[in-house]
């Protein structure tokens, strides 16, 4: 009995303890004494609040999202050490170990850094056009492919932009009073000095760059960045496509050319793109007339291969190989005789390009390239072999300090060998076979080292929407004792979402034609040429689909080479180019296109132009309208209308007879005191889109070039004694009908 009472007492104590523990654990769960509050704010590295950041304790579900002001608060189980994570897309994951010990509350400021820093806004420079939205007024690959009369050619499409004057039918770009040599072309940082096919005295007809291989395009007609040097007027920068994701074959055939493009993914992140084109003009002239212009109709071919390998998230290696050649034999009327101009050329280009992002905010691009251009010209006594070899190494670095500051720097070493071997006429008015000629054997070797430093800043001097790009460039050509510093600045102000005002200024140097440095008939002490650019630009976005741009510019040319009786050439030449450019680009309902107008006043005193007179490229008015209308997405009709003031020309006012050679020498009037007839041309294109066999996207087109058959004159030829003149039209200037098709054979290669 005594034992039973003792046992009962023990059980009672145990019961009491159990009840207490049950109640304790129950109430502890509802009213926890072992919780800690974690609160704070999430910001970026500019101290701006970051909403919707995911803040949590891993392995538990304690956590929350930050609110619109970046603030957060939640509770979690109290532990000695808490691992806190924070993440949001576009920023590096954040992790922190917190020692909580006896605290009931922890207050934190979480700073998240972007994974790849980018400037928070894109700076638009004056006079720039790009397919990358916001890098300039947009010029997309579809614009290039569908411009009527443009033959899907990059250069022919760029010629429809304001500031590009219509001097020839060729693809060469004459920018705001400058000649084509004043504009450089870069592809993946490598220079391409002969980007045209069928270069002859009339300039290259089309480019040998296939637009299907281009990913990005940037063109500037003035005040461009310090990244680009040795160019007085303009820059065209192209980026080639990367490794393809899908297998694709495109076949094209027309009256003028046939083409094959192949995209082939070899492995994950490694692929090949190939393009082969053959152009032949004989069928066009057979159907449209004009075969009598040629002994051998112009023909060309180009083959381009890109091998691209993305070896990491940010690293890529790309090999670009281009081969092109062409030939033509054109019947030429000379004063008192006829002859055949024979020309052919071969172009080889290879570029190894590398890009990567280091330390998250340092973008590095490197390129090593080689190109070789060989050409042969023969007309009467003229017999000229030309070879241009170019070797180049280029490195560019962009360091993004923050979303408001970017610093760029780079350097390039470029070696250019040019040789001219053959016979040139002693007098340019006598090209007959029996004329007196001079032997030419010239070799020019130039190595240029260029470097630059540039700053881009958004919200400059803390003024919101004020942006600046300021840079300085240095180029050195030791052999010619040339060295220059070029400051460049672009200042812009985003007045509001629709309006941007910008001002661009820069000094631009370029070395003169190497032939002018010749020891025999040149001046080895010539200095570099320069042009100061002043550009005021106003961009207005009418709506998402329509943009206007108005620009005023002035280019002050100095130190141009000028004929000198004592030293062959001096640097006393000068000139200017000033004007207004306007463009509207956009779409309305089923209409799309652009209208551009440029007014130019350009004068030069240089080379053998003894007085300040209209330059050869002084085309006062340039007007282009490219308008397309789309019917129910199947049919499209487009027109391309161009008007340009006639090209300046120096009239022949009389002639002198040389009996010993039985030839007349023309006597010229005042330099460029006359003009040719105004230029006009209307091209029309009908396009039909369909899905052949319900599988293959196909484009059929018919194009009428110079549909009004306007006789545009680019030069004159004369009779034997220069008493009668006859206009020379472009070989491709007559009314021409061209038709063709393009079929896409697609076969998706799925990722495993």
């Amino acid at each position: 009995m005594k034992g039973d009472r003792k046992n009962t007492n023990v059980f009672s104590v145990i019961n009491l303890i159990c009840v207490f523990l049950i109640l304790y654990s129950f109430f502890n769960d509802i009213y926890p004494q072992n919780k800690i509050a974690i609160k704070g704010i999430t910001v970026d590295d500019n101290n701006s609040p970051l909403p919707f950041v995911n803040i949590f304790i891993p392995s538990s579900f304690d956590g929350t999202s930050s609110d619109e002001n970046g603030k957060f608060e939640f509770t979690t189980e109290k532990k000695d050490t808490i691992i806190l994570n924070a993440s949001i897309v576009g920023y590096k994951k954040f992790e922190k170990k917190i020692i909580s010990k006896n605290q009931n509350e922890i207050n934190l400021k979480i700073i998240l850094k972007p994974t790849i820093i980018e400037l928070k806004d894109v700076i638009i420079s004056a006079s720039s056009f790009s397919n990358v939205e916001e890098k300039g007024l947009q010029m997309t690959d579809m614009d290039i492919l569908t411009t009527p009369g443009g033959a899907a050619d990059v250069f022919q499409a760029i010629k429809t932009l304001p500031g590009i004057t219509q001097v020839q039918e060729s693809a060469e770009i004459y920018v705001r009073g400058g000649d084509p040599d004043e504009t450089i072309t870069l592809i993946d940082q490598a220079s391409l000095y002969h980007p045209y096919t069928l270069e002859s005295t009339y300039g290259g007809l089309f480019s040998n760059i296939n637009v299907s291989l281009i990913k990005d395009l940037y063109f500037s007609s003035g005040a461009f960045s310090a990244k680009y040097g040795n160019a007085l007027s303009g820059v065209l920068e192209l980026q080639s496509k990367n490794e393809p994701e899908n297998r694709l074959i495109m076949l094209g055939i027309s009256l003028a050319a046939s083409e094959i493009n192949i995209s082939y993914p070899i492995k994950n992140n490694f692929g090949l793109i190939f393009s082969g084109r053959q152009s032949y003009t004989y069928p066009i002239f057979l159907i449209n007339g004009g075969t009598n212009q040629f002994s051998v109709s112009p023909a060309s071919r180009d083959f381009n291969t890109i091998l691209s390998y993305k070896y990491s998230n940010t690293g890529r290696l790309k090999l670009n190989v281009l081969y092109a050649n062409d030939e033509e034999e054109v019947n030429v009327d000379m004063p008192g005789y006829q002859d055949i101009f024979k020309g052919n050329s071969e172009n080889k280009f290879i570029n190894l390009h590398h890009s990567n992002v280091l330390f998250n905010n340092l973008v590095m691009k490197n390129s090593i390239s080689f190109s070789q251009y060989d050409s042969y010209w023969n007309l009467g006594i003229l017999n000229l072999d030309r070879m241009d070899k170019n070797y180049k190494i280029r490195n560019d670095f962009d360091y993004i300090f923050s979303t408001e500051i970017k610093i760029s720097a780079g350097f390039e070493i470029e070696k250019r060998n040019s040789t001219f071997i053959g016979i040139i006429p002693s007098e340019d008015y006598d090209l007959r076979k029996e004329a007196i000629g001079e032997n030419l054997d010239a070799l020019f070797n130039i190595t240029r080292i260029g470097s630059y430093l540039e700053l881009e800043k958004i919200d400059f001097i803390n003024i919101k929407n004020l942006f600046i790009t300021a840079g300085i460039r240095n180029d050195i050509i030791n052999k010619l004792n040339l060295s220059w510093f070029d400051p460049r600045i672009n200042l812009g102000y985003k007045i509001n979402k629709e309006n941007i005002l910008s001002f661009g200024y820069g000094i631009f140097h370029q070395h003169p034609d190497p032939r002018l440095f010749s020891q025999t008939d040149g001046n080895s002490n010539l200095n570099s040429m320069s042009a100061d650019h002043y550009i005021l630009s106003f961009n207005h976005e009418l709506n998402r689909n329509n943009n206007l741009r108005l620009e005023f510019y002035y280019k002050d040319y100095k130190n141009l080479p000028l004929d000198d009786s004592l030293i062959n050439y001096s640097n006393d030449g000068y000139g200017y180019a000033k004007g207004i450019d306007f463009i509207w680009k956009g779409n309305y309902k089923n209409f799309s296109g652009w209208i551009s107008y440029g007014f130019l006043d350009s004068k030069r005193k240089w080379l053998d132009y003894e007085n300040l007179s209209s330059s050869d490229f002084d085309i006062t008015h340039n007007f282009t309208a490219v308008i397309k209308y789309n019917f129910n997405l199947k049919y499209e009709i487009g027109i391309n209308y161009k008007f340009a003031t006639g090209k300046p020309m120096t009239p022949v006012i009389s002639s002198i007879y040389h009996p010993e050679m039985d030839i007349y020498e023309p006597v010229y009037g005042v330099d460029n005191s006359s003009r040719q007839k105004n230029y006009q041309r209307l091209d029309i294109r009908f396009t039909y889109l369909t899905n052949l066999f319900n599988k293959f996207f196909t484009v059929f087109y018919v194009e009428g070039l110079n549909i009004l058959n306007i006789k545009n004159i680019f030069d004159y030829t004369y009779n034997f004694n220069y008493t009668e003149k006859k206009g020379i039209e472009s070989n491709f200037g007559r009314r021409l009908l061209v038709f063709g098709m393009q079929i896409n054979l697609q076969n998706e290669l799925r990722k495993k």
Partner: protein
């Protein structure tokens, strides 16, 4: 007495032990997935960006705990698809750029899902993401279109009774221009098939079951495109019967339909 006390004590000990587990410290992932799934449903019906983002964060946390959770992978990708979709609106353009690459990267991982039915839905989501990319593409459009159709074909091979395959096919047929093979009649056919399959399928707490209201909305749009306004209105009304607060239909599609009818 002794026995009674022992039993009583044992019971208390058990109760004590249970009380410490009544409010468990272990996380039930399936419960969290259900929570996220419901959040996504509400986000879509109300077109609420905050809910989409919260859902995205929730699935991210689940994946942190269990990186191999296939359902969480699926719903994370689905959420990113909806965020990219939200970014098609110009006022939220940044969302499109922000989430597209992540959506594609995570979406591609859905090809590795082992559960056949879930993998079929995963391919549908991946196709949806590429469809978003297609809506902004120009020259790439024919290639992306092929990619989307190929993914849907693969999804069909895995589960031919998945209604969301036909919802996507219907959307593609509606949005593709005629010259590229689009057709409102084909859109209607696919969407009706989707609805039939939705009727036959059972809703599930965990596995995907979205798309019925969306199918009805697209069906209404397809009828409207063919100027069959009565059938269009019927479809929109049916949508609101099952989802009375479906913002897209209630405040956008129906009023637009009335406007168009009044013009004719």
């Amino acid at each position: 007495m002794k026995t009674q006390n022992s039993i009583f004590t044992l019971t208390q000990i058990i109760l004590f032990a249970l009380s410490t587990f009544t409010f468990p410290q272990n996380i039930n992932l399936n419960e969290k997935i259900k929570e996220g799934k419901e959040m996504l449903h509400q986000a879509y019906i109300k077109w609420d960006l905050d809910l989409f983002r919260n859902a995205n964060n929730l699935f991210e946390r689940i994946l942190f705990t269990d990186p191999n959770n296939e359902l969480a992978q699926y719903y994370k990708s689905y959420t990113e698809y909806r965020l990219v979709n939200y970014g098609l609106d110009n006022t939220h353009k940044k969302l499109y750029d922000q989430y597209l690459n992540s959506a594609i990267e995570n979406g591609e991982k859905l090809r590795e899902i082992k559960n056949k039915k879930l993998k079929s839905d995963g391919l549908v989501v991946l196709a949806s993401i590429y469809m978003m990319k297609l809506s902004k593409a120009t020259l790439e459009a024919p290639i992306l279109s092929m990619k989307v159709n190929s993914l849907l074909d693969d999804a069909e091979k895995l589960d031919s009774q998945n209604p969301r395959i036909y919802l996507l096919k219907g959307m593609m047929k509606y949005n593709t221009p005629g010259i590229f093979g689009g057709s409102f009649d084909d859109a209607i056919e696919n969407l009706q098939k989707a609805l039939t399959l939705f009727e036959q399928s059972k809703s599930d707490d965990l596995f995907p079951d979205w798309g019925k209201a969306e199918s009805l909305a697209w069906l209404g749009l397809s009828y409207q495109a063919k100027e069959d306004f009565i059938k269009a209105e019927n479809s929109f009304n049916k949508t609101l019967e099952i989802e009375p607060e479906f913002i897209w239909v209630k405040y956008n599609l129906l009023p637009e339909l009335q406007k168009e009818r009044n013009k004719k």
